[in-house]
Symmetry: C2
Subunit: 354 residues, 2 copies
């Protein structure tokens, strides 16, 4: 389907996003940093968390819901941890700072954990779990989502978000293992996509308030997402929320601000990033070679009927990153139209067609 979508070079999108943020008053360097991370999400195929979010971010900035001049600072620290106050800045900037601190600390202490509060939505979890990999480190990332779509197991009140985990583990010759997953069977973005396309959802994604399967995505507001493994996914969402939210003094559970409905109240989003220096545990190349070996072992497993290939976490995203860097990033026509409207509003040129 996306084969017929118009494609845009990553640098073109980065320039567009940078200009849009500058147009609403974000300092140039910050705008460029956020744009770079947002388009990196699109490059990896996380299309629900990249440039797709630009109109929403711009709206939030215009209503005053984001601090454009945040003083992002270390509020507490010890040798292997820090708590960062994001001062209600763009989540991308807060997390970039958190990752830098985690990496610098882990270089010395072997492992470091940096939590943040007063942050905001920051795109896909994998963006930040990937950052330590460039330094021969493993990255681990936990976040509190920005809208509650999940009740506790057995409940019907939406008290939890689909709190995600991401882990990035570098390999030698193989693509890195990058797991990025919500604690629900389907992320809410997938429900929205089904609704947009007029398709129905498979059973197991959502149930209604009577516990019956809900398969019509237009009725999504009447039900809720199902956690993976039933009470297990509920447990993961809860625990990730306590670690990324409560421990950092950030919103969690009932305090979570639904950033789709409320565009002004500070979200006090909490996230956490862990950097693990591989060299502290052993020889780096030897570790990466073992990761290659594990990857190849998994890939060469015999398969179920009708399965063409076994994928590793992050492998499809890695393939997209290579292809989209070379051929451009496909954007849905509806999204391109929204971006054109946004450009018009901001007095910018529309996205240049090739």
């Amino acid at each position: 389907m996306s084969a017929s979508f118009p494609r845009f070079r990553d640098r073109v999108l980065i320039a567009f996003v940078t200009q849009a943020f500058e147009a609403v008053g974000m300092p140039r360097d910050d705008a460029a940093s956020v744009a770079d991370l947002m388009v990196s999400a699109d490059l990896g195929g996380a299309e629900g968390h990249g440039i797709f979010r630009l109109p929403q971010y711009i709206r939030r900035i215009r209503t005053g819901g984001i601090n454009l001049h945040p003083r992002i600072r270390v509020e507490r620290e010890r040798a292997a941890m820090a708590l960062i106050d994001g001062d209600n800045g763009m989540g991308h900037l807060v997390l970039k700072s958190a990752a830098e601190h985690a990496i610098a600390k882990a270089r010395v202490t072997g492992v470091a954990w940096v939590g943040v509060h007063h942050s905001n939505h920051a795109g896909p979890a994998s963006l930040y779990a990937r950052m330590p990999m460039a330094h021969d480190m493993i990255g681990l990332y936990l976040a509190v989502g920005n809208a509650n779509h999940l009740p506790p197991w057995g409940g019907i009140d939406l008290l939890l978000s689909t709190n995600p985990i991401a882990v990035g583990i570098p390999a030698l010759e193989e693509p890195p293992v990058v797991l990025d997953m919500a604690s629900t069977v389907a992320a809410y973005g997938k429900v929205k996509t089904k609704a947009q396309r007029g398709e129905s959802m498979p059973e197991g994604w959502m149930i209604d308030r009577e516990g019956r399967p809900l398969t019509d995505p237009r009725r999504a507001a009447e039900g809720f997402l199902l956690p993976i493994g039933g009470y297990k996914g509920y447990g993961l969402a809860l625990v990730f929320g306590l670690l990324a939210g409560t421990l950092n003094g950030a919103a969690m559970g009932r305090d979570t601000i639904d950033f789709n409905r409320d565009e002004t109240t500070p979200t006090n989003t909490g996230q956490a990033i862990v950097a693990i220096d591989i060299a502290a545990f052993g020889e780096v190349e030897q570790f990466k070679r073992k990761v290659d070996e594990v990857i190849r072992t998994m890939r060469s497993s015999r398969r179920l009927p009708d399965v063409d290939r076994i994928w590793l976490p992050g492998e499809q995203s890695h393939g997209k990153r290579i292809a989209y860097s070379r051929d451009g990033i496909p954007l849905a026509p509806e999204l391109v139209q929204k971006l054109d409207e946004l450009a018009d509003e901001l007095g910018m040129d529309p996205l240049p067609r090739e």
Copy 2:
């Protein structure tokens, strides 16, 4: 069902297990430490990981598969991490040492990650995630399981174990949140229990090599466990295995020794424990009070029809720990018989009936 089981005081079981280990040559202090942890598993209701394992452990010790005089030592360390060589000792002893190191380091650096290799099966993951809680810390534990029951998603070769995660988060007035879960829908022990009881399994626990639901637990060897959330649970099992196994130079994937079938080859089991000092992030009592609040919010959610109560992770186990400490631990008659047979073999008195 277990209401009619004979019950045994925890101290009686600890004495029995200690004596059994001593009878096969384990030093007294080590025997007492392992016994204490094993019975602690039973107290919390993890009956598949407590005294139930004693005959298997004893067999492994007698075949020389466990080192009774291990030199458990820190092989590498930095301020916030250590890699411990368990020297093929009992996993409980290796992990107890690892948790002590993690707690001592986290007290200084805020967070500490201790990995182990050349370890062995150590009982339920929750045992070790709980340890930091007594020091006002959060505990996080990852392990490579000791038998492969899971193929990569889409595959049919058993290349992964049901690698578990456990997280222990203390509360103030409420029981702590203690999540302890395998990355599969059902743990393999549950399949064994179903087989023993002559019951069939619900669809969704296992599939056969053609991808069809497998519900007869006696046919378990013809199929494999399903991961939670499909490819997500596969991703978790893989990533937990890389973190607890590969990073520590321990077995993972194809290297895993099936300790049910092979009772002599050292398993080179890998585990990891993380301690997070709550005081590094903020005021401890305030954090615990917030955890109480989150717990109460979840518990008081409106419920689906036919749901009597919403549970928090670890809450049922907490209730059992209180009840079993007071009333004794129920043991299945078949298990009591096996323990009596073991006592006879070892020249010990059988378990005393009340």
